[in-house]
């Protein structure tokens, strides 16, 4: 019988069982890497580096997992924090930030080959809306779980998802016309 995530976490806690942790990594690597690829706007190498950091950090801090939320929610929160810390560092080092990137992107001047690409439309959303849409619409999280991951109030998550969805629809409609 396959062990649940909590059962595997218990094995890691009690026996320091790295095979059990390996199983957890195998189970969640796709969703975590996928989320980070979207957050980094398709930078696969960076997303994989951040995913590795997130899994290593999760292992080191596994004692702080209390089982109040799902393991995946706890893991996403760590992954999101890794992404934010990295984005902050990059902003300080290179001087590129979210607003600047946003300003440079004009939906009307996007490469025609990408016009119908939903993921490209998603990448045009501001970070707070993009993360909320990714977690709730793509990863199927509840608003409450997304609020835990993003560490923002529940109402803000709902607003961000709503606005993000509206903007996506508008962008796709504009490209379609």
């Amino acid at each position: 019988m396959e062990l649940t995530d909590v059962g595997l976490v218990a094995r890691v806690l009690v026996d320091d069982d790295q095979h059990a942790y390996g199983e957890l990594v195998r189970r969640h690597q796709s969703s975590v890497r996928g989320l980070l690829r979207q957050l980094t706007r398709g930078d696969v190498a960076l997303a994989d580096d951040l995913s590795q950091d997130a899994f290593i950090r999760a292992y080191k801090n596994i004692r702080s997992f209390r089982g109040e939320a799902k393991f995946s929610t706890w893991l996403y929160r760590i992954a999101y924090n890794c992404f934010r810390e990295d984005a902050r560092k990059r902003k300080e080092l290179v001087g590129i930030n979210e607003e600047q990137w946003q300003a440079e992107q004009d939906p009307q001047t996007v490469d025609p080959g990408l016009r119908h690409d939903l993921m490209h439309a998603l990448s045009l959303l501001p970070l707070h809306e993009r993360s909320a849409v990714l977690l709730c619409c793509q990863n199927g999280m509840s608003h409450d779980e997304a609020a835990r991951v993003l560490d923002i109030p529940l109402g803000t998550v709902k607003t961000n998802v709503l606005r993000g969805r509206e903007k996506l629809k508008k962008t796709l409609a504009a490209w379609g016309s």
Binding site: G22, S51, Q52, L118, Q138
Partner: protein
């Protein structure tokens, strides 16, 4: 209704646009970077507990003049009036019951939230 359908369509498309990412050695790379497991002496734990209990018992026996205080206290208990014993048992029972109810209410409110 139309808005809901559009929403479902968008969510479905977003989910389809996120294919499963093959592991391709990712898990192995993560495991290779994990800190080495700490050496633990867990097998010693029961021995330590038994030894500590035995030592504490022996110390208590010696310091209490062969456990004489137990006999004295037992004798005192036998002199307590029966009504007091019944009242004490009743109060203890009610206290435990109140604790149980409080724990159950707290748990049920947690589950509901």
């Amino acid at each position: 209704m139309n808005g809901e359908m559009e929403q479902d369509w968008l969510d479905k498309k977003l989910q389809e646009a996120a294919p499963y990412i093959e592991d391709d050695g990712f898990t192995a790379r993560v495991l290779a970077q994990l800190p080495a497991p700490q050496v633990r002496f867990q097998f010693l734990r029961p021995f330590i507990l038994v030894a500590a209990s035995a030592f504490a018992s022996a110390l208590t026996y010696v310091l209490s003049d062969g456990g004489r205080f137990i006999i004295v206290e037992m004798f005192k208990i036998t002199t307590i009036p029966t009504v007091w014993v019944v009242a004490f048992a009743l109060a203890s029972g009610m206290l435990v019951m109140a604790g149980g109810i409080a724990a159950a209410m707290s748990k049920s409110s947690q589950i509901q939230s």
